[in-house]
Amino acid sequence: MSASGPFQDKPKIRADALSVARGGRVLFESLSFAAEPGAYIEIRGGNGAGKTTLLRTLAGYLKPRGGQIVFENAEEPSLALHFVGHQNGLKPTLSVASHLRYWAGLFGGAINAGVAAEKLGLSALLERAARTLSQGQARRLSLSRLVLAPRPIWLLDEPAAALDANGKAMLATIIDAHRAEGGLVLAAVHEPLGPTPSQTLTVGV
């Protein structure tokens, strides 16, 4: 599903013979793949297989043990991507609205924070402190970063964790919209998210 959209440079990711290790133990070796604009790649693997490690390596937080990661059409990879990890990155005392404001500033977000809240069903919660959010509401807030500041590459680690059926549908919608605009999505999942993957990577043995 390659498409035209606002990401004019249309970045791609390519991994060549990637191998990663944690705590001295090799998790996987010689993983290669190429992600084109509009692609949605699902990363599968059992608990502890290395899905999170792979995503954090792609995001640049971890150094690979071997092989290489190439970003095409992205001058500064860290500015071309969003990373949604297991941790939501919320401050318990701050309100939903102030998280949105902060992220808009931090990532140079262009879109109205209200729209982002809307797309994830948070509009009624804008003034609530993050501390008082339910698990699924907190996850939605974390996902709202994707919509808040348009970036072409999304690295998502179990993005649907704690979401209800409605939340999963919203997530599928924004992923589809993102692909339609030429963005690309890599998501580690245990169960299919909804959108048809263009490729499935399985890590671990």
Partner: protein, 240 residues
């Protein structure tokens, strides 16, 4: 009386007229006491005119301690009988008590500058008053740090009660400590050596400050109750 007022609705009805009355009484007593003390009472034979600070200093010292005791009682009621109005009362009293303590500290050190030749002396009384002030600050800070009001009320009540136990301990240990090193201070005017002509204005001022406390307390409490009502209405509106 107290059980009667424990009902928030009755408290609101009562305080609606009682608060202004206490305020007027406070202003009247202060209006009598202040000029009496400032202009018509004798200057101290030794301290001269500065003794007049006493009329501000001593009542605030008394009531800053009295208010803490009041908060302790209210906290106990709030904790044991889960009475929301008692929590509100304890919280509403704290900033008033802290202000009284601050006024006592400030007037005391203003007084100390000419009499002792220093702004501050680590005397037992001064030290325990400063400790009381810090305990007030801690109590207020705890309240404002916890958003969930019900939880904040009970946690602050626990702290207040522990502080109640601690206050006499501080006072006793500080007294013991400053008798160890007798300070070179000249705390001349002891309670008994006060000239009878100073008693009248002093008691007028003390009564005035007590009424002021009662009035401010009720006004603070009313504001808190109103705020809770607005909050409840807002939540009900959000549900609908």
């Amino acid at each position: 009386m107290l059980t009667y007022l424990a009902n928030p609705a009755r408290f609101m009805a009562f305080s609606a007229w009682a608060a202004p009355i206490f305020l007027v009484a406070a202003l009247a007593l202060l209006a009598i006491g202040a000029p009496w003390g400032l202009f018509y009472s004798p200057a101290d034979y030794q301290q001269g005119e500065t003794v007049r600070i006493m009329y501000l200093h001593v009542p605030t010292a008394w009531w800053s301690m009295g208010i803490y005791a009041f908060m302790g009682a209210a906290s106990f009621v709030g904790l044991v009988w889960r009475h929301a109005l008692a929590d509100v009362a304890a919280r509403a009293a704290a900033p008033i008590g802290a202000t009284f303590a601050a006024v006592c500290l400030i007037t005391g050190s203003l007084w100390g500058a000419p009499t002792w030749g220093t702004w501050w002396e680590w005397d037992g009384r001064l030290t325990s008053m400063l400790a009381l002030f810090v305990i007030y600050l801690g109590y207020i800070a705890l309240w404002s740090a916890i958003e969930d009001e019900e939880k904040a009320a009970r946690l602050a009540a626990i702290l207040c009660l522990v502080g109640l136990v601690n206050l006499p301990i501080i006072k006793f240990s500080v007294d013991w400590w400053s008798t160890l090193h007798q300070p070179a201070s000249i705390m001349r005017a002891g309670g008994s050596s006060i000239d009878p002509s100073m008693m009248g204005p002093l008691f007028a001022m003390a009564g005035g400050f007590l009424c002021l406390f009662a009035a401010l307390l009720m006004m603070n409490m009313r504001a808190a109750v109103f705020r809770r009502r607005v909050e409840a209405a807002r939540l009900r509106g959000a549900d609908a």
